[in-house]
C-alpha cells in the first residue's frame, strides 16, 4: 500500500522553505516530488532597481551561509561585462574570504550531518572548531556573516598585514582538528556501515541532472569552477580538486573533509603572498558600464553559483539572473532517494547540503483510518535509531 509523507514547506525562522512529498511503500521510498517557491523574494526583479554597486550588497543577502559566493559571481559578471582587470592583491583577498567561507560552510554541514545520524559528539566538536573561523571573519571583515568584502573591480577592504598572523593561527589550529575529524569518521565502523551505499547518485545521473559542487565530485564528475575557469587567485596557488567515485553520503562527507585541507592550503599561500604585496591597491574602478551582457560563475561551497547580467549602458542592470547551486542539486534527490528507506531520507537530503533545515515542519502520515503525525524531528529520530541499531549489531 502506498502512503504519502509530505515534508514542508515552511518554518518561519528559516530561509528557503521546500516541500517534499514522499510516496512510500512500507519503509521504502518509491516516488517523490519537490516543490519550491514558498519564500520567493523576487530578488532578480528587485535587482533591476539597484545600481551596479548596490547590486553586490543585494545579492549578498540571497544566502546567509555562502554570503560571499553570490557577490563573487556578481562582480565576476560585471567585470566580464565591463572588461575590467582586478588588482593582484584583491585577487588573493577574494580567495581568502571565499575559502574561509568554504571551511565554515563544510564544517557546519559536517556537524549537522553528525546530528542527523545521532552522533551529537561530532556535532559539538565540529562546531567548536568552526567558531574561531567566524571570529576570524569578524576580525578581518568586521562581520561574522555578510562580509561585504566584494566590489566590482576589486574588494572593499584590505586585509592588513597586522591581521595575517591571526589567520595563520586559526589555520594551524584547524588543520590537526580536521585531520582528527577525518580519521575519526573514515575509521569508524558504525559510520561506515551507516553512510556507505546510502543515497547513491550514479555518475550518469549526476551528469543527467547537471549537479554541481561536492554533489557532483562525490559521484566522480571532475568539475570545479575554481580550476575550470579560474577567478580570484586560484590559478596562482597550488591545490587540487577532490573527486570520489562512490556517490553515496560517505563519499560526499569525504569530499568535504578533504576539501577543507585544500582550503587551508590555499589560504596559507594567499596569506604568504599578501605579506609580500604592498597594502593598498585593492580596487580598479569601473568608469562606465557598457551595454552588453556578462556571465560570472564561481565555486560556492555547495557548487557552481551562476550570475548573468545584462546592461543597456545605464546605471541599472536590465536583467539579472541568479542560479544558486542548490537549484541544480535538489532535483537529483529523485535519483538518489528512490528505493531507500524513510529513515535515510533526512540523511540523503542532508548529503547535498541544501538549506535542509528549512524542511523542518510538521508532516502528516495518513495510513488508512489511522492518522499519525511526523515532523522533521521524527525523521531525524528514525535516522538516529537506525544508527543505534547498526551500532548494536556491530557490538560497539
Amino acid at each position: 500500500m502506498k502512503t504519502i509523507i509530505p515534508i514542508g514547506p515552511y518554518h518561519p525562522l528559516l530561509e528557503e522553505p521546500e516541500f517534499f512529498k514522499l510516496v512510500v511503500e512500507g519503509e521504502t521510498v518509491v516516488d517523490m516530488d519537490i516543490r519550491i517557491g514558498w519564500n520567493h523574494r523576487g530578488i532578480e526583479k528587485l535587482a533591476e532597481t539597484k545600481t551596479f554597486d548596490q547590486l553586490v550588497f543585494l545579492v549578498e543577502r540571497i544566502c546567509g551561509i555562502c554570503s560571499t559566493s553570490h557577490p563573487i559571481a556578481d562582480v565576476l559578471a560585471q567585470e566580464d561585462l565591463a572588461g575590467v582587470e582586478v588588482p593582484e592583491r584583491a585577487q588573493y583577498i577574494r580567495s581568502i574570504v571565499a575559502e574561509l567561507e568554504r571551511l565554515h560552510s563544510h564544517l557546519l554541514w559536517l556537524g549537522l550531518a553528525g546530528h542527523f545520524i545521532g552522533y551529537n559528539t561530532v556535532f559539538m566538536w565540529v562546531w567548536k572548531y568552526r567558531e574561531p573561523l567566524l571570529d576570524l571573519f569578524e576580525l578581518i571583515t568586521g562581520n561574522r556573516n555578510d562580509y561585504a568584502m566584494l566590489r566590482p573591480g576589486g574588494v572593499r577592504r584590505d586585509i592588513y598585514k597586522k591581521d595575517l598572523p591571526a589567520i595563520r593561527k586559526v589555520m594551524d589550529e584547524l588543520e590537526p582538528a580536521n585531520e582528527m575529524l577525518t580519521k575519526a569518521i573514515l575509521d569508524d565502523p558504525v559510520l561506515n556501515a551507516r553512510l556507505k551505499g546510502v543515497g547513491v547518485l550514479s555518475k550518469e545521473d549526476a551528469i543527467r541532472y547537471c549537479v554541481v559542487g561536492p554533489t557532483a565530485r562525490a559521484s566522480g564528475v571532475d568539475i570545479d569552477v575554481r580550476r575550470d575557469e579560474p577567478y580570484a587567485a586560484y590559478d596562482k596557488v597550488e591545490w587540487k580538486v577532490i573527486v570520489q567515485e562512490d556517490g553515496d553520503v560517505l563519499a560526499k562527507a569525504v569530499v568535504r573533509l578533504l576539501e577543507n585541507f585544500e582550503s587551508i592550503k590555499i589560504i596559507r599561500q594567499c596569506v604568504d603572498r599578501l605579506e609580500e604585496l604592498p597594502e593598498g591597491n585593492i580596487w580598479n574602478p569601473i568608469p562606465e558600464m557598457p551595454p552588453g551582457e556578462g556571465i560570472g560563475h564561481e565555486e560556492a561551497p555547495r557548487g557552481e553559483c551562476f550570475h548573468y547580467i545584462r546592461s543597456d549602458g545605464g546605471n541599472y542592470p536590465v536583467r539579472v539572473k541568479v542560479r544558486a547551486p542548490t537549484f541544480s542539486n535538489l532535483p537529483s534527490f529523485k535519483a538518489s532517494c528512490l528505493g531507500e528507506t524513510v529513515s535515510d531520507v533526512a540523511l540523503i537530503t542532508a548529503g547535498i547540503d541544501p538549506c535542509y533545515c528549512c524542511t523542518e515542519r510538521m508532516a502528516a502520515v495518513y495510513d488508512g483510518s489511522n492518522r499519525r503525525l511526523y515532523d522533521w524531528q521524527d525523521l531525524v529520530r528514525l535516522s538516529q535509531e537506525k544508527t543505534e541499531k547498526i551500532r548494536k549489531e556491530l557490538g560497539r
Binding site: 543527467r208 547537471c210 557552481e304
Partner: protein, 141 residues
C-alpha cells in the same frame, strides 16, 4: 576543431555567431533548431547545462541557454527569440533532465510554453496564483 567550428560543421548557416571572446561564445539559433543544437552540445560535445535565462524584450521573450565546457573553460550561450503574444518553444528537458526545473521556472515567471515538457506543472508560483499573470514580464511592472 574548436567548439564553434564543430557546431558550424553540424548546423551550418542555421547557427549564427553573435559574439566571441576566449571564454565566451554567444550563438544565435532559431527556435526550431534550438533543441537539436542543445542536444548536440550536451550529448555529443559533453557540455554541462548551467541554466537558461529569459529576458522580456520588445520583440519577444529572449532565452539564453548557457552551456559550460568544464575542460575547455568556455561558456557557450545559445540565444533564441520567442515572439509574443504566445511565446513557445520545444522543451529540452526530455533529453536533458537538468533543464526540467529551469524551464518550469521560466514558464512560471515569463509565461513561456515549453512544448513536450515531461512535467509542466508550476514550480515557483503558488497554486492559487491567477492564470495568465507572469510576474517577471515588463507588463506586470
Amino acid at each position: 576543431m574548436d567548439v564553434a567550428e564543430k557546431i558550424r560543421a553540424e548546423f551550418g548557416e542555421r547557427v549564427d555567431l553573435a559574439f566571441r571572446s576566449p571564454k565566451r561564445l554567444y550563438l544565435l539559433v532559431g527556435k526550431g533548431d534550438l533543441p537539436a543544437v542543445a542536444r548536440f552540445l550536451f550529448a555529443e560535445l559533453g557540455a554541462r547545462f548551467c541554466t537558461a535565462s529569459a529576458v522580456d524584450t520588445r520583440a519577444g521573450i529572449e532565452i539564453l541557454y548557457h552551456f559550460f565546457f568544464d575542460q575547455l573553460s568556455l561558456m557557450v550561450s545559445l540565444r533564441t527569440l520567442l515572439p509574443k503574444p504566445s511565446p513557445q518553444i520545444e522543451s529540452i528537458a526530455p533529453f536533458l533532465k537538468g533543464a526540467e526545473w529551469v524551464e518550469r521556472e521560466i514558464a512560471d515567471l515569463f509565461g513561456v510554453e515549453f512544448l513536450g515538457h515531461p512535467d509542466p506543472r508550476r514550480l515557483i508560483l503558488p497554486d492559487d496564483w491567477p492564470e495568465g499573470e507572469y510576474p517577471y514580464l515588463r507588463s506586470s511592472d
